[in-house]
């Protein structure tokens, strides 16, 4: 593999500092990374797999190997330390773990909004014992520690090791049910804010544990605060204060490079709020015109996104992935402050050649300060 000119960390920090790095930084492939587990690459698009989703997330050895394998193959700048929501289960949600899909919370632990007072703060002991521990929190902390150790032992250029917590409003939706949460914002706003605040505090404590275990960075998607679900007014009243509290806690505990906030839907009427949450960068949904977002808030906030996760990556050819990605990079990367990613989580069965193209993009296409584009040298991958 050809060596990059600067380290992953330097590249990411440059983008967050609104500068132009040597190339566009690029994030991990979300849940698609499961295809690096065992022999799954040979089973893409097939019903049967070598390693199931459940095996992947519950076995630190398998999970860590898959993440390292992905990094080695595509040389992305961030590596994922478990990309789904652990906390709902830890707070009492009954979960279903499908063979090939993200676990889903099938039963909420509370019925009324103020029932949150009956929920125990989750056990966050970092005491993983191989073959015995089944607690998801302990498994995730073990994964983060092991990924960190792998890259430390190699003494090589380590990608940003990324932990995961949901946005507070989203966690509140898991606990109460999204329909009830939506109505409780109108019926019982004060109690709803208390629930959200409890969720914020839980996520903050868990975030600290993840940093202690070796994370460099935390990803907090907040899909229930989507611009397609709640108005800017409700976002400002319910989601924003909690997201801001969460983000401040992350930067206070770690540093200003440590927080990735993701929000779904059309958020163009609230970009000013997103800009001031305090995250290191914001990733936006593919429904957003990223160029417009950058024009509006890009002078103060780095932006990531937003290749359509159900577009060319899923059904298109490599050429179509290249075209779609190139257009975004050319529109948004000039003058820095940009990181390449999709507009939301990855489908599990994108064809390998399309994923390969996605990770070739930042190395093929480069923006220079005078806005003239050249085909940059292609790093072998």
């Amino acid at each position: 593999m050809a060596k990059d000119e600067i380290s992953h960390a330097e590249r990411i920090k440059a983008a967050i500092d609104l500068k132009e790095p040597d190339r566009v930084p690029v994030l991990y492939p979300g849940s698609w990374a499961i295809n690096f587990a065992g022999n799954n690459l040979n089973f893409i698009g097939k019903k049967e797999k070598d390693v199931s989703f459940s095996e992947w997330i519950n076995n630190p050895d398998i999970f860590v190997k898959s993440q390292v394998k992905g990094c080695d193959r595509f040389n992305y700048d961030f590596v994922m330390g478990l990309g789904y929501s652990i906390l709902p289960g830890a707070l009492g949600c009954a979960e279903n773990e499908p063979y090939w899909g993200i676990p889903s919370a099938v039963k909420t632990p509370i019925i009324k909004v103020d029932d949150w007072k009956k929920i125990d703060f989750p056990d966050m002991k970092d005491d993983f014992v191989k073959g015995k521990t089944t607690g998801k929190i302990q498994i995730q902390l073990e994964i983060l520690r092991n990924i960190s150790n792998v890259f430390e032992k190699r003494g090589s250029d380590a990608p940003f090791i990324t932990g995961f917590i949901t946005g507070p409003l989203t966690l509140a939706g898991f606990l109460l049910g999204v329909d009830k949460l939506m109505l409780s914002m109108i019926d019982s706003p004060d109690e709803t804010k208390e629930l959200i605040n409890f969720c914020t505090d839980v996520t903050i404590e868990y975030m600290k544990k993840q940093f202690d275990a070796g994370a460099d960075h935390i990803f907090t998607p907040d899909p229930t605060a989507s611009g397609d679900l709640i108005s800017a007014k409700f976002y400002k009243e319910f989601a924003y204060p909690a997201a801001q509290k969460q983000s401040r806690a992350v930067s206070n505990y770690k540093d200003k490079y440590a927080h990735h906030y993701h929000i779904c839907g059309n958020t163009s009427d609230r970009w000013d709020l997103l800009e001031s949450i305090g995250s290191s960068f914001i990733s936006l949904d593919s429904v957003i015109d990223l160029k417009k977002a950058k024009d509006k808030i890009g002078k103060t906030k780095a932006i990531a996104g937003n290749l359509n996760p159900s577009g060319a990556l899923l059904f298109g050819t490599e050429t179509e992935v290249e075209k779609e990605g190139k257009e975004i990079i050319e529109n948004v990367a000039p003058n820095g402050g940009y990181l390449l990613w999709t507009g939301c989580d990855w489908a599990l069965d994108y064809p390998l050649k399309n994923v390969e193209m996605f990770y070739t993009l930042p190395k093929k296409i480069w923006s220079i300060s005078n806005l003239k584009y050249i085909r940059f040298k292609v790093h072998s991958i």
Partner: protein, 214 residues
């Protein structure tokens, strides 16, 4: 009530639904019964009309999900009172839609809104709930007289289940129409997986269903 007063009554009911004013919906429903106004007309010309306005306001980004749920709750308050007074002859079902969130996905707000709007538009809706495997859709089509199967997914990680379901339905029941919707889904996606149609939001879903039913 003369026609003008009746129209004013329906408008008031529609507005109470838009405002999410459950007390007013219940008061108007009771008043309607007292005044011997046809219960079915109150639902269709008042409640359902209100939900259509709500749906249009969502499309314009003037209302969002909390307000829509409030309107739905208010409407249900009225419908619960009116339902026992509906004459069987009044019910003119214009088609049957089987709806569900696909396997691996439990996010059902969008599906519930579409269901509500379809019902208020006079359609028969069979709701299979969430996390629904392909076999359940097939079994329902086998047993019931279904015109359209509507599939919902919120996550990119679950939307590929739609492909499986649509494929099986197209093979086994080519006369049954399929439509898909949900945050990660697009017209392009619908075309690629062989679905007959796609709706971007709940109010569009009603138009799509009406279009598919001809």
């Amino acid at each position: 009530m003369d026609n003008e007063e009746l129209n004013e009554f329906y408008e008031k009911m529609a507005q109470a639904v838009v405002d999410g004013n459950e007390d007013e919906c219940i008061r108007l429903a009771n008043l309607g019964i007292e005044e011997q106004i046809d219960a079915y007309d109150i639902i269709i010309k008042g409640c359902a009309h209100g939900m259509t306005i709500v749906s249009d306001l969502y499309e314009k980004r003037e209302m969002f999900v909390p307000e829509i749920l409030l309107s739905a709750r208010a409407m249900s308050g009225a419908v619960d009172i009116l339902k026992p007074y509906i004459k069987t002859d009044d019910i003119k079902e214009t088609g049957c839609v089987c709806i569900g969130v696909v396997l691996g996905d439990i996010h059902d707000i969008g599906k519930n809104l579409v269901k509500l709007l379809l019902e208020t538009a006079g359609l028969r809706v069979i709701d299979l709930g969430r996390d629904v495997p392909t076999e359940d859709f097939i079994e329902t089509v086998e047993k019931e007289k279904v015109d359209i199967v509507a599939l919902s997914a919120l996550m990119t990680t679950s939307m590929m289940e739609m492909k499986e379901t649509v494929k099986e339905l197209n093979e086994k029941y080519p006369n049954v129409k399929t439509m898909v919707g949900g945050a990660p889904v697009s017209k392009e996606f619908a075309d690629k997986i062989g679905a007959d149609s796609y709706a971007d939001n709940a109010s569009e879903a009603i138009r799509v269903v009406q279009g598919l039913l001809g």
